[in-house]
Each structure stands twice: as C-alpha cells, then as structure tokens.
C-alpha cells in the first residue's frame, strides 16, 4: 500500500482542530467588535439623565454603565457556544472524533472568553476616552481612583469566567439539540413542565424556603463577598458544564 497509515494522538489532532477552528471563526471577532460598538451606544445612552436649568445655566448629566458591554459579550459567547455545537457535521469529515471535537470546542470557547474578558476590562478606559472626547465635563467616579492592579485582575477573572459559563451552557444546549434533533424540543418542554410541577409541590410541602427563581440563581454568584468562595462556586459550575457537555457528546453519531 502506497498510502501511509498515520496514528497521531487525540491531543495533537485536537490541537490542530483548535487552530483550524480559530482560523475559520475569525469572523467571530468582527461580530464581537460590532456588538461592542452597539454596547457603547447603549452604555452612553441608557444611564438615567438629569437636567437642571436656570437663568444663566443649562446643563444635563448622565451616568454611564459598562453593563451593556458585558451583556453584549454574553450574547456573543452564547452565539459562539451554540454555533460551535451545531456545526459538528463539517468537522467530522476532516479527521475528528467526539473527544477531539469536544476538546477543541472547549479550548476555542476558553480563548473566546479570554478575549471577551480583555475587551470588557478595557471598556472603562475606552469610555473615559470617548467621554472626554464628546463631553464638556467628564468626571470619573471616585471609586475608580482607588482601584489597584488586583481590582483589575479580579474584574478580568470574573468577566472571563462568567463569559465562559454562558458560552459553555450554550454549547451544552447546542450539543443536546444536535444529538436529539426534533426530540430535543419535546424533552425540553417536558422537562420544563416537570420542573414547574416539582417546584410548586416543593413550595407547597416545604414552604417559602424551597422557593427558587432565576434571581436567586444569579444572587448565588453575585452576592458572594469572598473571592475564593466565589471562585470555587464558578469553577465548580464550569466543571459541571464541561462534564455534562462531554457526556452529551460522548457516543454521539454523525448523521444528518
């Protein structure tokens, strides 16, 4: 046989796939840039404006928030997570198995989350620059004056990890959609009904202590005062999402 047989490791294939996916998903960075521009538009206009006037003086003021930029980056991560999960077909024809596909998808999501984290970290500086360019008086909140390197590092880590959670969650849902196709909607519907019924029963039996809603889910992370406990919570969440995603893709067939 003239054609040589190759037996490269799963990890070297996954590494090649990560590079290939980053190349073919380079448009994703353009989408992030556009979403951030929209985010800045909201950031500058969503703040509550005040207005004062007198015989000699008229002024308006508004406060700016970086929240829209975080929201836009989360949207972007959800979109990327879903598209990575749902475009499985094209990669299996080009040397792949479920393990390498999963491994490279996760690596790409992590890189995307890092880029999202870096961009949002600099959003405060960008807003300051834009602010001084377009406003007559631009005053930075006093809290920014007392921020040190550790604060910025914390801001970066929290942003990156939150983005990763959303991206991985979207990836997990995408994998289930790809795997179970039309049955996914049915199962999701049944699961939602079961959850609602279980929740109602739990509240009836155990009272308000069993009350659980999306707000309390967010508070579980956002209200945590200790950085290390927060870090453990977030890392465990990511590890959980990685695990369920892996079991979602494991033994999945490639069939359109």
């Amino acid at each position: 046989m003239n054609s040589m047989i190759h037996r490269d490791s799963k990890f070297s294939i996954a590494f090649e796939q990560t590079k290939d996916k980053l190349f073919h998903h380079s448009n994703a960075f353009m989408y992030l840039f556009i979403l951030h521009l929209i985010g800045y538009l909201f950031a500058f206009n969503s703040g509550i404006s005040g207005f004062g006037s007198g015989d000699f003086l008229q002024f308006s003021y508004r406060s700016f928030s970086t929240t829209p930029l975080y929201v836009m980056t989360i949207f972007w991560m959800i979109f990327q997570g879903s598209s990575l999960a749902e475009e499985k077909n094209r990669q299996y024809y080009m040397v792949s198995n479920n393990f390498t596909a999963y491994f490279s998808d996760i690596a790409v999501l992590e890189i995307f989350a890092l880029i999202g984290g870096v961009l949002t970290l600099f959003s405060g500086f960008f807003m300051q620059v834009y602010g001084t360019l377009f406003m007559e008086n631009f005053v930075l909140h006093s809290v920014y004056g007392s921020m040190g390197v550790l604060h910025y590092l914390t801001l970066f880590i929290t942003g990156t990890l939150y983005f990763l959670i959303f991206g991985t969650a979207a990836y997990f849902v995408g994998i289930l959609r790809v795997r179970y196709k039309s049955r996914f909607i049915l199962v999701a519907f049944v699961a939602a009904i079961l959850l609602i019924v279980a929740g109602l029963l739990a509240v009836r039996v155990f009272g308000d202590s069993a009350l659980f809603n999306i707000e309390s889910l967010f508070r579980f992370y956002l209200d945590e005062r200790s950085f290390f406990i927060w870090l453990i919570k977030v890392l465990l969440t990511i590890a959980g999402l990685y695990t369920v995603s892996y079991f979602g893709i494991k033994n999945m067939e490639v069939n359109r």
């Binding site: 003239n2 054609s3 047989i5 190759h6 290939d20 073919h24 299996y92």
Partner: protein
C-alpha cells in the same frame, strides 16, 4: 484493512444494514452497488466511524471504527451531505484538509482545481451541484488516505466530466494504490475502472467479488415458447418477454441453468446471451410484484 462482521444498523426501528459481512485486505477499486436505500451510505458512514452499529462490528486497520481517531486519520469519506465552513473559499478548505490528512498532495489538489476550472477563491456554497461534487472528489483523491470512500461522487455532473473523473480516479489509484470504495448508480460508466463489486440489496451483502463474476451472473435465454416455458417452471426468472409469435426471452441465473444439465438437443434450440453487469444489477434489484404496469392498468 476493512472488515465487517454481521454489521447491522437500525434507524428508529428501520433496518438500514442487515448482517453485512465482507472483507477487503488488499488495495482494490471496489464498486458498491445498490439501489436507493440499499444501505450504501450507512455502510460508508459505519466504516468512517460516524455510526455506532446496532449489532456486529465494522473494523478498519483491525480497530473498531466507531469514533476511533486512528480510523478517522486513515479514512476519507465524501458524500453529498457533507458541509464545509461557509466563510472559507476553496483554497482555504484545501489547506485545512491538507493539515489533517498527512498524505495530502497539495500540488495535485491545486492542479485538479485548475483542470476543472474551479475558482480557488469561490465559496463552496456558491458552487453548482456538479462543481461541488467535483470539489469533494478533488479533496478525496488528494487526501491519499489509505481507505477512500466515495459515496455517489459524480452526483449532478454532466457525462463529460463524469468520464474525466473516472479516468482520474483510475490514474490516481494506479499511482497510489489503496482501498477505494465507490458507490454509484451508474455502474455502466464505472465498470471499466472497477476490479471488485460489493452488491448490497435491502441492507444485505448479496455478492462480493471480482467484476468478472458479476458479468456471468445472469444470462438471457431465447427460443420458442415451447422450449422456454418448461424452463420457466424450473428456474427463477428475473425477466420474461415475448418477441412476437414464436419467440420468448427469459433472464435466469447462469449457475441454476447450468445445474439443469440440459440435453444437447434442447441446448441447440436455445440462444444464450450474456447480460451486462448493469443489466444484471437492474434485474437483481427489481421489485417483485406491484409493477408500474399494474399501477397504471388497474
């Protein structure tokens, strides 16, 4: 190199492959023949490791195929349903494939793109059906994978291009001998390049062997009805036709006919004709009963 042991695959209760067993150990150009829904694509996808067998097993390089990374590196499968990154042009797709298939002949791929007038800056999704098929075949041949699976590689191509491509497949195979499996409905066109035939019908492997065996599978017997009718009672008849008064033709299994050991006298009154592999394929896969005439005449 390739082995299937009682390979069976069900999709939602529908049997796509039924106890398929065969083996290919040497480089060969094998035609996988079968009607639509016979199980050809399922077989290819099982060999490529895309599908998990319901029962039995498929082996490539002595390893079970399902989700096996060694198998993935050494098997190249192309089919109409495969998709590519929509943002990438043909050159970028060729580059991507060349990074994953280590035997990939980049020079050959670029030469074939040029030969078939495929613009390397075009997007795959913008190609016509025939051009897309050509591009997929260029990838498959250039990959030079030890096992190359071509599922309906000439879909949508005009006859001139199809002829060209069969010639290229043959040249490529001579230059880099390997196991190449080609599935197609156009047996007549590709029989000149094939060595072996794997004949699949209703999920089962009906026959696997050299093309020559297939050429002598069925024969046509022609004679007066008085001679033919007794034979019809003794043999399995694949087709029967009357040609005016006094002449009837039947298509039968050559082996069964030979087993009858007819007398010389009777044999002399029969005209025996060979049947082409393509016609044999049509006769063997024809539906029993409920023919189109019945449908229109009822």
């Amino acid at each position: 190199m390739i082995r299937c042991e009682e390979l069976t695959k069900y999709f939602n209760g529908t049997r796509a492959l039924d106890n398929c067993s065969f083996e290919i150990t040497e480089p060969t150009l094998t035609g996988v023949i079968g009607v639509n829904g016979a199980g050809k694509t399922t077989l290819f996808k099982s060999l490529a490791g895309f599908l998990k067998p319901t029962k039995g097993q498929a082996f490539v390089l002595e390893e079970p195929t399902f989700q096996n990374i060694t198998v993935a590196q050494n098997v190249m499968l192309i089919e109409e349903g495969m998709s590519f990154y929509s943002s990438a042009n043909l050159k970028e797709l060729v580059d991507s494939y060349s990074r994953f298939y280590q035997n990939f002949d980049l020079k050959l791929a670029m030469g074939l793109l040029k030969y078939f007038n495929l613009n390397e800056n075009a997007k795959y999704d913008d190609l016509s059906k025939g051009m897309a098929s050509t591009f997929r075949l260029i990838l498959a041949l250039s990959a030079r994978a030890p096992i190359t699976l071509l599922d309906e590689p000439t879909t949508g191509m005009d006859p001139g291009v199809r002829k060209d491509l069969y010639e290229i497949i043959l040249k490529d195979y001579i230059k880099a001998p390997r196991i190449i499996l080609i599935s197609s409905h156009y047996l007549g066109e590709m029989e000149q390049i094939l060595e072996d035939i794997l004949f699949i019908h209703e999920g089962k492997v009906l026959k696997h062997g050299p093309l020559e065996e297939f050429e002598t599978l069925l024969i046509a017997l022609q004679a007066s009805p008085a001679v033919i009718e007794p034979l019809e009672e003794q043999l399995r008849v694949y087709e029967a036709k009357d040609f005016g008064e006094g002449l009837r033709k039947i298509v039968v299994d050559k082996k069964e006919f030979e087993e009858l050991q007819l007398s010389m006298k009777l044999s002399d009154r029969l005209t025996i004709q060979g049947i082409s592999p393509e016609d044999s394929f049509v006769h063997l896969t024809r539906r029993k009963g409920g023919g189109i005439d019945e449908l229109y005449d009822s």
